[in-house]
Amino acid sequence: MKGSWIHYIRGFVTVKLASGEADKFLAETISKVELWDISYGKDGKLRFRVSVPDFFRLRPIVRRAGGRTRILERHGIPFRMARLSRRKTFAAGMLGFVAALFALSTLIWDVQVEGNDRIASEQILQAARAEGVYPLQWSPRMKDTSELASRLALRIPGVSWVGVEKKGTKVQITVVEAAKPDDRKLESPKDIVAKTDAVVTRIVAENGRPKVQRNDRVRKGDVLISGIVGEGERTKAVVSKGEVRGLVWHEYKIASPLTVKSKGFTGASNERGYLVIGNRALQVSGYGQEPFERSEVLGEVKRLRLGKWTLPFGKMNEVEKEVSYAETKLTEEEAKRAGLEQARAELLAACGPGAVIKGEKLLHEHTENGKVMINVLFEVEQSIAMDRPIVQTSPDETDRTESGTEATNRD
């Protein structure tokens, strides 16, 4: 019924007209008092509902009509409150519960740290505790989150940003760690020496003293950039660093065959399916195929999985592909070119990055046993620098080494 909650707040009663004439009573009251749910009970008496204030207005009218009323049911807030006021402990408990809920919700229950990798969570939590953020802290005593964040950022070393977010009774501290450059590896003093015999084409010393010049001829093991700097008494060993490039000669003996065998798939293939149980396979498809003269078989096993377990059941697909071998004959010129090409590629791979072939000279060439034998000399410009640690043995140089190492560390 519309507005029934208003009735509920004001309180209403179900009333029985215990004695008196129903029709007369209805005619009297309906225009003056609001009644609803008017019906006859099993005892043949009229019963109806009326709000509490209206009920008191109703009584004189009933008395005048010579009737009597009896209240059957009481509903609504006023009656609830009256009942509650009789049960003091219950009411106190209800109030206490609300109060406790409110009081406990003003405490901080959980502090979480997020985003830290190198910095220990304990360290951050300790810093937070020092700033007054810890479990069972009373929220109003905590500082503003933005202020907390800036203070925490100052307190925790190695962070670039700290965010503090308060979600109800939970405080989340988000940390962004400062990026640190990788520590440089410590190195002992060293020279740069020649890797092979060569003619120097370029020398750039970043650290240390260059000992050779451009167009100098050096032998394997010669010092190119010295790690000992200074003169006379005032010398110290440093980590020499630099780039040295030189012309190096490589002699290659190449044997290039005149016939080349190549393998290829013809495109024809047979497929077979198997059912795998344990380590046995049962062929289920692909019967009655013509076998190939030469073929390669590729198999793929798929096992059933149940969660993290692999079951001993599965299926296998097998593809048999026909293979054909072709032999091609090359002329001597072609074989030579192929051999040289391969030699160049091998050479550049062996000489390290930045190597450039400057020239090549064919020394000797002859054909025998279906192969072209070539002897070729390559001139390659490549890096010839190689590190060699400086070993100092004389006792009076020991302290110098230490100072040298120190200098290196600082570097």
Binding site: W36, D37, S39, F48
Partner: protein, 92 residues
Amino acid sequence: MPRVVRKLRNWTARILDLPRDVVLDLPRVTMIGGLQLTVENHRGVLHFSPESLRLAMDKGEMEVTGHELVIRNIGAEEVLVEGRITGVQLKA
């Protein structure tokens, strides 16, 4: 209501195509199956029992018959009756 006034109102309602109950203060009865019945423009309850409800009208009376009748709501203008309604009768 004087006769002239009623004639005039009747004429207005006819000319302007107005609902008669609005203009002429006639009872308006809305019935939902045999379950619910609303009567507007009544003039009071004459008799009420589980089997019948007699309502006073401007002219004559109206009787609602049925079983287990309940007046859900009653106001100065409107009555809402529920129950197993079997008949509605107008008596001039």
